[in-house]
Symmetry: C2
Subunit: 225 residues, 2 copies
């Protein structure tokens, strides 16, 4: 039974991979840097993006976002406070985003991709299933909040292994949680050697400028040369 299930899954994945390659081409043709943001529920994806998107717009880096949730459009409303164009994908119970959902929302959206520099996709809160679905992103960003425990990279290695950037969030709570910073870095790096790690607090604004700077430089290197 499990084998059959996995075979079907493989089929779904390879179709997703083909569609992802097409979407990636389209997004790159518009000069976008696309970021797929993944984490557990409650790691602070929306708070981080709200802060970043506001700051990016203020510093002349236009950005848009699609945000996935099982239910509610709370997150899209929060992100829209940044002033950036935002749409909600309600997955109606599905545990991850697939590239078809991204494409369908982009096609139905009166949004000129050529006017943007960055495109965020906030995935469903889930450290497992989104691992397997390429959404046409340039970078996959995984968040780990200080409240979740330093062991999470070891317990959910596939997601951390698939990521290009790791962000430790809610650093303002690090002391209250007795967060072991060195251990967290060690665990992330043991699963994904050499991965770039940032530490942020969306609440205090810590680390946000450095992270934006990194994204701006990554995009410039890709397109400006």
């Amino acid at each position: 039974m499990t084998t059959r299930y996995l075979e079907i899954r493989q089929g779904v994945l390879s179709k997703n991979d083909q569609l992802a390659a097409t979407l990636r081409g389209r997004l790159q043709a518009a000069g976008l840097l696309t970021l797929n943001v993944v984490s557990s529920p409650g790691s602070g994806k929306t708070a981080l993006l709200e802060r970043m998107m506001g700051d990016m717009r203020k510093t002349g880096h236009p950005v848009a976002a699609l945000v996935g949730d099982l239910q509610t459009d709370n997150d899209a409303k929060r992100l829209a406070r940044s002033g950036a164009p935002v749409r909600q994908i309600v997955t109606d119970g599905m545990c991850h985003l697939e590239v078809e959902m991204i494409t369908a929302h982009l096609n139905a959206w009166d949004l000129d991709l050529n006017t943007l520099e960055f495109f965020f996709i906030e995935n469903v809160g889930n450290l497992v299933c989104p691992t397997w679905y390429d959404l046409g992103e340039d970078l996959r960003i995984v968040l780990l909040s200080v409240t979740e425990g330093e062991d999470k990279p070891l317990k959910y290695p596939s997601m951390f292994y698939s990521a290009d950037v790791a962000i430790i969030t809610k650093m303002d709570l690090a002391e209250a949680c007795e967060f072991d910073r060195a251990l967290a870095h060690e665990n992330i790096l043991s699963v994904r050697p050499g991965i770039r790690i940032f530490e942020t607090s969306a609440k205090k604004g810590t680390g946000i400028a450095e992270l934006i700077d990194f994204l701006v430089h990554t995009r410039a290197k890709k397109y400006v040369g």
Copy 2:
């Protein structure tokens, strides 16, 4: 594609449901109260169970546990510190437990169910996929940590709707997180009216005795009459 995927899924589920009914009969014949503990990664399932299982043993309520993770046997090692019999299920990437895994581990385990009163199953950290898999439990217990945000029941309603008991964990961090207790209760109750809600801190020991008392009484009502 999605339809076909869901049809297959339906097939997997209905087999799981049949096996769950069989397992439930076996566990109930041994007089066990079986608890399926679900939450996001890092909500504190293991910390809560370690504390509860130690206290339950000390007060004459023998307990055992199976614990699921994608990788590592860290959690089984932590729970074994309570002195109770514990086994790890490594799902090797699978995002939820299925009843076949529970049955297989019980069959291979030199454990006399008749000597136990409580059986905990700590699910994979995931607020979505474990929703759909009955593991033969008597009660499904969902955890929400104060660090995750009060909106999670609204964003992951299927899991909260499927639960019988909700536990708000890490209450020692409530102030640091500016946790809105009334709002969290309101959101949980709006998804699952009438659900019993506990508030705990495994670190401080808050609410643990009350929770154990509830489980002991629930079991007594079921078996002792």
